[in-house]
Subunit: 425 residues, 4 copies
């Protein structure tokens, strides 16, 4: 997704290093997967791992190499049809819900495709590139990081469909922390704030233009809502009281009989969840994940609070360290972890779980999509989605910003999506 609004000048050598790091990260993510694991599509929202690996490569081939690398030999002409995602301006493509029909090329062949393109991009970088090309490469890397996260969430969804509940990573249970304690509250003044990316470094088009917004005084919980708190909500009949729910959310409840977050399963009175490490007992202190916007909103109503707006969240995140529980190149915990010890400030703003905000994903004042194919990006999804902030345990290390706007439809649950409460001051 997303064209870049601005790019700080970046040296070729740095870009080469970044290129190698990101591209090899995808390889590492795919390492535990068989050809079949990497091919099957478990639902229309998800894509096969093979598709993620090839599509991100297609992006470099199509956007970077074809127009800018004289003499570049296209690896396989058929891949343009197979691995285009949704760029209407680039031509016909495999329909999204049929991506899982592509049993060929084999995963090995996709690996060769990656090597072929990597070599050509590296050659290009060694030779030195003009800023516009460097920008496209940097965009391609951010784009690939997004797909790295999706690869993880999509594999989790696939493995959750299997009665065997296979583990993507070593399934031994992770140590569980001591109790987290009650959430604290951090207060913020109202007033005019600057929102959006300031143009230093990379950002997606939808993060700008930077502009002023007016907010009212508010308070934010100093950590995310935990699994333990969610169990209280469930025990109190949260999934059975229509007055807590948005009308569309209640319709989901009735249709899909939701009674717990996605991947949760009760076994002999204990709650377990399918994770990237197989079936694991629920950790009461860790942030709840895999809840939809509808569930997050109903929880907030039950708690007598509300979700923050994305402006409030961005205001609060300003200047905070972006350290957190991220995927770290595919390694790492791959599950949300309990918040650290309470202090004077906000915890868990970055990493662990994406936090639903109450803000519909909409253009900032003055927003204009970029011209050409790379502009066919975030703008066309500005309908029916809500903004999430802060990244998750499946987000690659470094792929986050205070201004970063992720977005999903309010019924989606397969991402590592959780929530943090807010209230008017």
């Amino acid at each position: 997704m997303a064209a870049l609004t601005a790019l700080a000048p970046r040296r070729g050598a740095d870009l080469l290093t970044a290129f190698d790091r990101v591209r090899s990260g995808s390889r590492a993510l795919a390492a535990p997967l068989s050809d079949a694991d990497a091919t099957v599509q478990s639902m229309p929202d998800a894509s096969p791992a093979k598709w993620h690996l090839a599509h991100t490569t297609w992006f470099f081939e199509t956007m970077v190499l074809k127009p800018n690398a004289p003499g570049y030999r296209v690896f396989d002409e058929s891949f343009n049809y197979l691995f285009n995602s949704y760029y209407d301006s680039v031509g016909e493509r495999q329909p999204r819900p049929r991506r899982g029909m592509i049993t060929r090329p084999h995963l090995d062949r996709v690996t060769e495709y990656r090597a072929h393109v990597d070599g050509a991009v590296e050659d290009l970088l060694y030779g030195g590139v003009e800023p516009p090309v460097a920008e496209l490469i940097e965009l391609g890397l951010h784009h690939e990081q997004q797909h790295q996260e999706l690869l993880l969430t999509d594999i989790l969804h696939l493995f959750a469909q299997s009665p065997l509940k296979p583990a993507y990573r070593d399934p031994s249970p992770l140590p569980v922390r001591a109790a987290t304690g009650e959430a604290g509250w951090v207060a913020f003044d109202g007033g005019i704030v600057e929102i959006g990316h300031d143009g230093r470094g990379f950002a997606y088009d939808c993060e700008g233009p930077r502009h002023q917004a007016l907010i009212q005084p508010f308070r934010l919980a100093d950590r995310c809502v935990t699994n333990g708190e969610w169990l209280d909500f469930m025990a109190d009949g949260g999934y059975r009281d229509p007055l807590l729910w948005l009308s569309d959310g209640w319709a989901q409840i009735l249709e899909h009989r939701w009674s717990a977050p996605l991947y949760w399963e009760e076994r002999d009175g204990e709650w377990w969840a399918m994770t990237l490490r197989g079936m694991q007992p629920i950790d009461r202190d860790a942030p709840v994940a895999h809840v939809s916007y509808f569930e997050a909103d109903a929880y907030a109503a039950w708690a007598g609070k509300r979700l923050p707006t994305e402006f409030e969240w961005e205001r609060a995140a300003e200047g905070l360290s972006k350290d957190g529980n991220f995927a770290g190149g595919g390694l790492g915990r791959l599950r949300p972890r309990p918040a650290g010890a309470a202090g004077s400030g906000l915890r868990q703003m970055f990493g662990d779980v994406w936090e639903w905000t109450r803000s519909a994903f909409a253009p900032y004042p003055g927003f204009r999509p970029a011209a050409g194919a790379v502009g066919e990006y975030n703008g066309k999804f500005m309908n029916g989605q809500y903004v999430l902030r802060g990244g998750s345990c499946a987000t690659p290390e470094g792929h986050i910003r205070a201004t970063y706007r992720n977005f999903f439809q309010p019924d989606k649950r397969w991402q590592f999506s959780g929530l943090r409460l807010a209230e008017d001051a």
Copy 2:
């Protein structure tokens, strides 16, 4: 919809007059309808006229009479199930998509029900009511006016399904005005503006709290987009270019094969539309109606403009006269009419067509639903809908305010929904 945030004190006699006017207005609207016309439901979004007539009456019986009129005799116990709309707190109800199965009671019996309840409310008013009861009655009248508009749009939808294309009103063509001319543009400064209802007179809960918002300088077209302009959009391939459309909008195009506004039909090279006055030739100078948000947004992209936000619209509407082409108690033109002569200001802000804004229907800062059944209202619909402003030719005279927020899903087309263009200054 909607609890009231505040109500100016209103004398019993005034309220009695208002009650009689609104209630008899509904009767007048139903006059051209047979029992069958008033019973059939043409789609899940629409309700039968009989249901509108009875449900608005049920509201007075349930919210006003039962708790406040000692000795009131319920007309028919079964009506509570039949004519509850969506108040979960009031009990079980006929499922919305099955409202058309209620062939009994007969329309005449509903008319008796109305008379029974009218008498009891009038008795109550003659006896004098406390302000909270007066507020509930006023709310009931506004509620009924909303249903008056829906009765008209729903009957239009029903009659459009019939191969006979019956006319709700005298079908003779209305005189067509001379050409309207190019739209002009009116500029507005940016800055902090006051948004929302100020508490003087009636308003729905979602119109408040009044609060400050920051807007950027902008310009607004001085009239709505016309049918003639829409024909240009169609002729230029507007319905066939995916780059103009939101992704969800393009999916609608592909699924439903939209190629013109709802109710339009080409006959021998000329465009006609089904109206409340039967099939009529398209009037090039009148505002386009029956377009979805998706179409309005695509049109704006095609024109190189955008839709206004609801705050921009409200800012611009402030202080303008609310005269316009309204339903006038069910009488009136019942079709949008061409704008008057251009002048120095905005035309057609009120009446003719509801104007799509780019603002998702969301709570204002500090919004809290009212307690009890009447609070189960606008808040629970704050998802997946866009705000429309200004009222239409089917809106009852007087049932509009600059702060009035109507809302529908972006794919809906059966309301008199049109658009006005905006741009950044």
Copy 3:
């Protein structure tokens, strides 16, 4: 349905009498219905009463009057589109699932239509008609009788959707008989039998040609399966054991959660059913009705028996009196009644409930559809349906024959469909 294979010569006066009797029978059936009752369509399988009344009239106008009555003035040209059922050769038509959108013409206007056509047909008959025209009129009368039965079953379905459960006829409970006793068995020899209509009197095209078929020795229960026996099946877990069910039937169980016949409802431990006389307690001795083929087949498996073939049924019915519990011109009991006292022979072969056979509805050897529009009839439905025999309490008196083949898909339940058991001898 169905062209006639042969017609015994019939005098003009007899035909006129028959015409008046059948046509006035439809009027009597419609008498308890309001315009709205007669307009609404409760599901795609059902049609509005108004449609039945008009369509049967359209048949006379289109097939009889237009080609054979010089100077006949078409009542309303638009009716050809509105009231054609499925005759592709006669032109475009209102799509079946949208028949309920036709709120106009009013029921009164349809009554006028009927009078207009009745007058013209009577004039034609007074003048004397050639045998081919007489045959068409006779076909039209049988066609109308079929629609009389459907009018009743469709009204029952509509009224069952209403929470008010209105009664089509006086709802006072009918006297319940003393216990029926165990079913007896009647044995039949095998051998070559003559099947199909012999050409004397009227029959539909699918009842011929008469031909020889070979059957094995078999036994038939001397009465239909009763509600009491069905309650035993339910109590024994009949609806919960997949081994009793056809695979497609079990899929229905899972999808629609069937656990009793259509229209049955448990209230405080007692079973009631919606009937044409409103909600009534289940009569244990009366034949079970409103069961699908899947249910009938599962019941037979549970009972260790099977359903008869249509040839077995026809063999057994040969020569029996056709007296029974029929609709009698719309009057009558309108509910199945318990079998009379057991004797030496078969009881309830005619009337009460249509009896599912295990025979797929297929062409008899040598079957050829008639030429022209009247031939576009039974043949095209010879897929995916099973034959039912014997008529029901909603079938008009006299509209039955031993060779009569009714047919429905195996999941349909809104007809008065029941079963009689068979076994190999």
Copy 4:
């Protein structure tokens, strides 16, 4: 499918040979497939190759080894859930439409599973088995051959979904024969015939009991309808004339916009078809394949003929050689081939394409499902399907009989299904 009605005594050594031949045949069929090819499910009707390979093995493990091989060690307990097909009596199972979610076990692991079970069955056979066990093994082999055919048709369907149109076998075009010439007709007398399996050798339960049936004199075309004849049907508007079609068939046409057999594609005015050898030009002289019953029936109506009944077909096939174009252990042509030179008799009765008959799949007189799990077989599918006869180019050599009844729903097209015309004599 199907328990066996009778089994000729068969020596252990012969059974061992048959076992090795069939089991190695499946391995050979899977040889061209990658793990991903073998895992993906292209539609609910189809199953993954891996599933076919494992399910047939599960059958031996569950039905033969567990009850009869003392000390047999189950290979993997989880496989009972994964690879049960539809035996409700054997327990819960992976839902059919989700078979493609099973990316693990890997294809290699399934191969190990096969070897494990093969060894145990061979040990059992070496030790000598009682007739009931021998019968179960023989049933398992016939069951596996059915799945061999499905494996081929399901892979074809999967590969047809891929834009790359991969070839399962060497894609070089096969030599095309000279023109086939007009079909001749072979006449048969009517009378009482013996139908069904006579108990000598293996047969499925649904092929019996053998019984007498009465047929009328008829004629049968001496070859199948060809692609060239089908092109004539298409050119004559066969897919556009509702009068040729069964009502349900016409609904398919409208919904799915069928205008040619499945897998056909027009490219620059020439017709091609996806085959197991990739995209190939249509061979005008070869039998048409991949047509539904609805299409076969419409073609027959267009040609002024009809489809044969299954009794007519069986009568005509009696005593004919069963040589033909079969899959031959997975080798072979894998496409229908033109009929040989016309002679005095019927051609192509066996092999090439399954021939639709007009007979609904129904129990023969006296049919009773076998007791226990193996009896949960053909009987429960006796609804909504038509019988096909004669085997196809994907049927394993030897897996056919004159009495063999295959069956599919009338809208299915992914099998090698074609037709032969019949007429009354």
